[in-house]
Symmetry: C2
Subunit: 289 residues, 2 copies
């Protein structure tokens, strides 16, 4: 497995492969790899000649006061895990290689970036879109893979890719969960033992709302108050940033519709956790809007 | 010569060429082609296997109240001229093909876009950077060509290209002038006979400042007042938007340095004209800063 450390070296590596007709699958990550990442890498290995995984904790997507410095970094273990999955290259660029002195160019996906998480993380999705576009230009993939746990990121990046006419298939992969339902996240490592137990209640709350909407006992417009009620009863949750039903395409809050995204973001002390589930109400019976 | 009308058709055409190992040279234009454009097309034809010229009057780079609607369009003549130069394809996308309903993604080159012309054309360089990036992704060139008459555009696009790790060589081509010195521009067609005569005095003013700085009779810091004095004496000029000496890389006003960009933007009634010359003061003698 190749280990590549700069944007220019990455571009040389990929260009030679593309010109020889190979398909490249790309899995961008911030490292501290867990089973959520690894399941995505396996998908890429299955579908492409070559799989490249990037590990880059992107300063441009962290706001002042967020966890950029303490975000978990575990390059040695990450490299071991990827080698075991037959990934072909790990791309670990330095911050200076990605954002050299005097860097000035940013991508904005207007109207999708300021909702949900964007309200609480100013500039976050511009940072994400910018770095992903740069990585795409260095890695030159045919397919790029993202996890649905970061649902808004998936929507923003699919929109960017379509709007900018990128010739890349964006593949969205299901959230992988711990046995008690907690969505896997590198940030789960921040949780105390008690917070970790309580964290499972976030998914439980989303799932309860889904079932109640599907069996007709909860209206879509009543999802938000129900979630707030449930989540505010969880001892470790110190702030509910959002918790409601959203249009899966526009990310606007909705009171009905065929497909409903139920999503929440909460804080447990200094740790911010997000989760979501997609509910297909056309397939369900007894729905009352 | 192929005529291509949509982003997706363009991408199919170029992808097949790139995969077969051809080099593509790209000349983006807004049409109403004059000798300035044609000289650039000739450069591309010389240096690349395939030359593609786009004609697209880009709404995203015109502000409210600017000349988007009346900007000259002359597709038939443009196509004839390009055929004569052995260009391989003309790409004339519709506005709907470039900006479909619900379009949301924009590129910003921060810190270079709000100077010089950017002060007077809000959003202009974001519109330029965005459309050029989109066209690059559709045309997939190895080299892309721009005219130095639009100097700030050249700086913004070179910076975007480097920052976003585009694998494209940005080639900047000298300004082509009418016999009396006026920089060729599609907008010169707006000028009345009297304005057209006076328009030649813009270049004359820049050139006089250059010569005076080079022979030591004018300090770099005195370029701005000298230009303002000269230009305000030109009867057809109704507004001087900027006229001074600038750092060629940062576009900040300067009072000295090895390379000085002398640039001006003026209005003659409803017509906005720009011009610039680059002065290499290291090569000159007797310079007083």
């Amino acid at each position: 497995m190749e280990i590549i450390g700069s944007m220019s070296a990455m571009q040389r590596f990929s260009k030679a492969l593309r010109l020889s007709g190979k398909t490249i699958g790309f899995v961008p990550t911030m490292g501290a790899l867990h089973e959520g990442h690894l399941s995505i890498v396996r998908e890429s290995v299955k579908a492409n000649d070559i799989t490249i995984v990037s590990i880059f904790v992107n300063p441009a997507q962290f706001s002042e006061g967020e966890d950029f410095n303490r975000y978990p970094r575990d390059y040695d273990n990450d490299i071991k895990k990827l080698g075991g999955l037959l990934a072909d290259a790990v791309f670990i660029p330095t911050v200076d290689s990605v954002y050299p002195d005097g860097y000035k160019t940013y991508v904005e996906v207007r109207g999708l970036s300021d909702k949900l998480c964007g309200q609480f993380r100013l500039g976050h999705f511009s940072g994400v879109a910018t770095v992903v576009l740069k990585l795409f230009n260095a890695v030159m993939p045919v397919r790029a893979y993202f996890g649905l746990k970061d649902y808004q990121q998936c929507v923003v990046l699919k929109k960017m890719s379509a709007d900018l006419n990128l010739d890349i298939e964006i593949v969205l992969c299901p959230t992988v969960r711990e046995p008690d339902g907690l969505a896997m996240s590198s940030r789960n490592a921040y949780l105390s033992a008690e917070e970790r137990l309580d964290a499972a209640l976030i998914y439980k709350a989303l799932k309860e709302a889904e079932l109640a909407v599907k069996d007709g006992s909860l209206k879509v417009r009543a999802i938000a108050p129900r979630l707030r009620e449930t989540l505010s009863g969880v001892k470790s949750i110190t702030e509910i940033q959002y918790a409601s039903a959203y249009d899966p395409d526009t990310l606007d809050e909705i009171t009905g519709g065929a497909r409903v995204l139920i999503a929440a973001a909460v804080k447990m002390g200094g740790t911010r956790l997000i989760d979501n589930i997609m509910v297909d109400l056309q397939a369900a019976e007894g729905v009352v809007c």
